[in-house]
């Protein structure tokens, strides 16, 4: 299985161009993770609110009317 990998050659080099290019992914990654996290936080707040006793009472009152 690993015979396929033995041909692989990694050569050490300092590749500033590749580093600069990767900064785009770094920025995008951090923005992406905060964006998805913000959505999750919002949803959890919504879930907590919708399942709260106060909200249930409001609903009951609304349907009794």
């Amino acid at each position: 299985m690993w015979m396929n990998f033995i041909d692989y050659q990694y050569r050490f080099k300092v590749d500033v161009g590749a580093f600069a290019g990767s900064l785009k992914w770094m920025a995008l990654g951090m923005v992406g993770i905060f964006f998805v996290t913000a959505l999750i936080i919002g949803s959890v707040y919504l879930l907590n609110r919708l399942s709260s006793e106060q909200f249930k009472q409001k609903l009951r009152r609304f349907f009794k009317r």
């Binding site: 299985m1 690993w2 990998f5 033995i6 692989y8 990694y10 050569r11 050490f12 080099k13 300092v14 590749d15 500033v16 590749a18 580093f19 290019g21 990767s22 900064l23 992914w25 770094m26 995008l28 990654g29 951090m30 992406g32 993770i33 905060f34 964006f35 998805v36 996290t37 959505l39 999750i40 936080i41 949803s43 959890v44 707040y45 879930l47 907590n48 399942s51 709260s52």
Partner: protein, 369 residues
Amino acid sequence: MQAIFENFANLTWQQVVMWGVGGVLIYLAIKKKMEPTLLLPMGFGAILVNLPLSGAVTQGAEVGIISELFGMGIANEMFPLLLFIGIGAMIDFGPLLSNPKLMLFGAAAQFGIFFTFSMATLFGFELKDAASIGIIGAADGPTSIFIANYFDSYFMPAIVVAAYSYMALVPIIQPPFIRLVTTKKERQIRMEYEEKEISTATRILFPILITMITGLFAPRAVALIGFLMFGNLIRECGVLDSLSETAQKVLANLVTLLLGITIAARMHAEEFLQWYTLLILGLGLIAFIFDTIGGVMFAKLLNLFSKKKINPMIGAAGISAFPMSARVVHKMGLEEDNQNFLLMHSIGVNVSGQIASVIAGGLILTFLG
């Protein structure tokens, strides 16, 4: 008589060194209790696959069991995903649901992943290999295996060894860097914990919601997050207690048992004994350090704007190495002030790191996959 010693001619010095590597992993697992469930099988596996003409691995047309297990359990990502069901069943998201804002720290503490990814490209690694190396910062073994395998990274063995070793070393790695970026006064900030009751409906809907949101933005992470959240759903639904218990104990143990020894299939001397293994171990350390710093600095940033001050140390718990990181922060809080109990906050951040690390992995797969 000659036939008995014939195999000795096939022995190389690299294989002998790998026996030593295996021995070190076994030593660390037993003596230092460093992630023994993984490091011990990996150590033994390293010896197993590095015996000349080992029958445990495929030799020409002769199929070896470890190579087969690798194909059946890791190459198709099955073992890490099954392990995630067990992990999901073990996690109580209660502290996080009580204070959802804590998730922000989990997100911030993934900075090390992306920083290390960039550093790896600087040192000449190809983009997908760099991403696989960066994901060591997820501080989450199954995610590291999943991503490295998805990208078919040549460096998977070193990545897995780094991920699991550093997870075990969290109590040693994190404290000096937390101290480096915080003042004594900041470390003494007390945080009150208000326990809020979380409804069963919220606990049940949470894993479903997380899976859907993450899946919509990072579709390639659906398997990872889905299996983690499936495990949690089993735990929280209240009608599958026996399955939850099985997932937490039997399933997790069984998969772990096979995972470690199977990863060793890629710890062949030719692959592992390269100087870049050291470079990857170094980059892995950078990932853990910058995860820690990222989380702490984000908490400090929030303190600039919030009236209720946050102890910045809890940001470091976002590293996802669960529950070691939370314990480290709690202990450091007590060292500074013996009445400062940060455990519930840091546990909340820690479990959010678990989710955030999977999201980070999913985003990387989406960007580069």
